[in-house]
């Protein structure tokens, strides 16, 4: 599904990712943990094609295609989805318009026609229940005045509507109370299947009690410095990251 080989990437001339490699197979859930500033969000941004990030070395293939060669929206059409660490507020554009534009864009790529407003409303009303947001959040501006938790639920709502094949969740759990955390976890678990993969970026073992990962990786200094099974998360929770510093070298 996703194959990252020796990826080097920089932001404003600063090298952030320094030889990162990662293989994600269909149906797998990978957790990425690591200290602040280690490059976790950078990885998400590079994969989704955000402006300002340049790749100097390495390759990324996604479902057999050269991912780095695709435009931002093409990556989305191919099934890549990033749940943002800091979702953007867009006053004046209703959540509804935004979500429908996204769903229709994907349908267009699949050769399907737009959903009718009625069909879309029906789907959206149904799915929004799964993230425990009130219907009124469809009418409001995109993330406008949403609390941190509501923004994250809105990300999960988008994920559920778009049904991507690879979902990257960037610290979706940060700052969430236990109820919101469960909403996020339930959303992911409900979508887990043999074809869909997840990369879950988190600081906390806590989320991984609900979303059981197949693999846990530690990202430090722009590289994966350690990989293991779900028990690695527990170890990190107990010991922190400093004991791994030796392994970076």
């Amino acid at each position: 599904m996703l194959s990252i080989k020796d990826l080097h990437a920089s932001v404003e001339e600063t090298n952030i990712l320094k030889g990162l490699s990662l293989e994600v197979k269909p149906g797998e859930v990978h957790a990425i943990m690591g200290p602040n500033g280690s490059g976790k969000s950078t990885l998400g941004n590079v994969l989704t094609g955000r402006e300002g990030y340049s790749v100097s070395q390495g390759e990324v293939t996604f479902n057999g295609k050269d991912l780095l060669d695709l435009g931002i929206e093409e990556r989305a059409h191919e099934g890549l989805f990033l749940a943002f660490q800091y979702p953007v507020e867009i006053p004046g554009v209703s959540n509804m318009e935004f979500l429908k534009a996204a769903v229709d864009a994907k349908r267009h790529h699949q050769g399907l026609s737009d959903l009718s407003a009625v069909e879309f409303m029906k789907t959206a009303r149904d799915v929004i229940k799964h993230v425990s947001l009130d219907q009124s959040f469809l009418k409001r501006g995109v993330n406008e005045g949403f609390s941190g938790g509501e923004k994250k639920r809105n990300e999960i709502l988008q994920m559920m509507l778009l049904e991507p094949s690879l979902c990257i969740l960037d610290e979706t759990d940060s700052g969430l109370d236990i109820d919101a955390l469960q909403v996020v976890a339930n959303g992911v678990n409900a979508m887990r299947n043999d074809d869909r993969s997840f990369i879950v970026v988190t600081h906390y073992q806590r989320l991984l009690d609900y979303i059981i990962p197949d693999y846990v990786h530690v990202l430090s200094g722009g590289r994966i410095v350690k990989s293991g099974g779900k028990e690695l998360a527990k170890e990190l929770e107990a010991r922190g990251y400093s004991w791994l510093e030796g392994e970076v070298a």
């Binding site: 989704t48 094609g49 955000r50 402006e51 435009g71 931002i72 929206e73 990556r75 989305a76 059409h77 989805f81 990033l82 943002f84 979702p87 953007v88 867009i90 006053p91 004046g92 554009v93 209703s94 509804m96 318009e97 935004f98 429908k100 534009a101 996204a102 229709d104 864009a105 994907k106 790529h109 737009d114 501006g141 995109v142 988008q158 778009l162």
Partner: protein, 434 residues
């Protein structure tokens, strides 16, 4: 005197007008000819050169024209409708008038008294040269006079249509609204043109008097083809606890300048003014607003937003003047500009002049390009860059559009504004208007 001033006076001489307006006309003419012609050194005209107007050949009054109906979409609402074509009243297209609405020429003795009392008195003609000209030219006009405690059941819709004429020509438009104590009304002024290349000059002036506790919704919609010259003004006096809710929108043109002057003259008066300007190509639009807080406990909330495309230019000058006696004033002024091209240019100048010490005031102005983070967010969800840009541009003004109280106006503007950003329906299909 410039030739332009001279020709304008000749135009006044060529008019027939009711005798009882003669004093005001003479006074206007006097001011007009004695005024120094504005140059770039004139503070109020610093950014907006009048040269193209001055060089225009505006020596005759525009003739009425037929056949415009198929080319102008009117706002679809149940209203008292007055239609003027090139400044000339079109009775066919207009509706029957209720007793509260009258053309100056048909005014009763009582209505004449109201007109004489207020017409040309709200506007400060020392400051507004083209208002002096409007006085010199006053002949035709509309009075809305709502008696004490009454509410006009239907909005008044004044449609001013411009069409091109054989030779460049001038049209004058004048509206006076006087709401007595506790009266309420909605007034919608719509300046439109056919899509043909325009060659006219429109001088429009509106005066509003809101007496104690009166409330008015006022709309000024200025969407004309880009070759027109249009200088307009809305001037209002607000007495005790009067409420004015104003909405104004302008597309740019060769020269378009709109002044708003609101005077808080009675305690507790409240102004909520929202404006949108959308110049593109090489168009020009200038909004000058001046709010005078003369007495305590009044409020002003003013929000203007502009989107500038291509090589267009806009000026926003928003002044709020809080006099020494105007304690406990609440005043907010915000102006945000979105440039969708790096050749577009805006001069924004919010000015708060505060001489009272116990007031709450805020002002801010921004000039920015489309938010990159928001653009990326939409694209990362699969929306094309082009569609995302249009959704974000529309969203930028949609925040104001959503607050438009009159649904017919909102329904009218939504799709039209969206089409300004693109003619491609594919790209507009996710824009909703309410």
């Amino acid at each position: 005197m410039t030739d332009f001033q001279q020709h304008a006076l000749q135009l006044a001489d060529a008019q027939s007008s009711p005798d009882w307006l003669n004093d005001l006309r003479a006074q206007g003419a006097q001011q007009w000819q004695s005024a120094a012609w504005p140059t770039r050194r004139t503070e109020l005209w610093k950014y907006t050169p009048l040269v193209p107007l001055q060089n225009g050949d505006f020596k005759r009054w525009a003739e009425p024209a037929g056949g415009w109906q198929d080319h102008i979409e009117q706002i679809d609402l149940d209203a008292t409708r007055l239609v003027f074509v090139n400044g000339v009243f079109d009775p066919e297209a207009s509706s029957e008038l209720p007793p509260e609405v009258v053309r100056f020429g048909d005014a009763s003795a009582e209505q004449k008294a109201v007109i004489s009392e207020h017409l040309g008195k709200v506007v400060d003609t020392e400051r507004h040269l083209f208002a002096a000209l409007s006085n010199a030219w006053v002949a035709e006009g509309v009075l809305v006079h709502v008696p004490r405690g009454q509410r006009l059941p239907k909005p008044v819709y004044v449609l001013h249509v411009s069409t091109p004429t054989a030779e460049p020509a001038t049209a004058n438009s004048r509206v006076l609204a006087v709401l007595e104590d506790g009266a309420e009304a909605t007034l919608i002024e719509h300046y439109a043109s056919t899509a043909d290349e325009q060659n006219g000059f429109v001088n429009s002036l509106t005066e509003v008097v809101l007496k104690d506790n009166a409330g008015m919704q006022h709309y000024r919609i200025n969407m004309e083809e880009e070759n027109i010259f249009h200088l307009g003004g809305v001037h209002a006096d607000l007495y005790r606890s009067a409420r004015l809710r104003g909405f104004t929108i302008a597309q740019g043109s060769r020269l378009k300048r709109v002044d708003y002057q609101v005077n808080h003259k009675g305690e507790g008066a409240d102004l909520n003014l929202q404006g949108i300007y959308l110049p593109r190509n090489s168009q020009y639009v200038d909004y000058h607003t001046n709010i005078e807080h003369c007495v305590p406990h009044c409020t002003t909330k003013e929000v203007f937003r502009g989107i500038l495309a291509d090589k267009s230019r806009a000026v926003f000058n928003g002044r709020i003047h809080i006099h020494q006696d105007a304690q406990k004033t609440l005043a907010e002024l915000s102006n945000k500009n979105l440039l969708t091209s790096n050749k577009a240019e805006v001069d924004t100048k919010p000015e708060l002049e505060i001489y009272a010490d116990d007031v709450k005031c805020a002002h801010g102005a921004t000039v920015s390009q489309i938010n990159k983070g928001a653009l990326f967010y939409l694209q990362s969800r699969g929306v094309s860059r082009k569609e995302a840009e249009i959704m974000l541009s529309f969203g930028f003004i949609n925040e104001l559009l959503q607050e438009v109280q009159e649904p017919a106006v909102q329904n009218y503007l939504g799709p039209r504004l969206a089409r300004l950003f693109s003619r491609d329906n594919e790209l507009l299909r996710h824009i909703s208007y309410e």
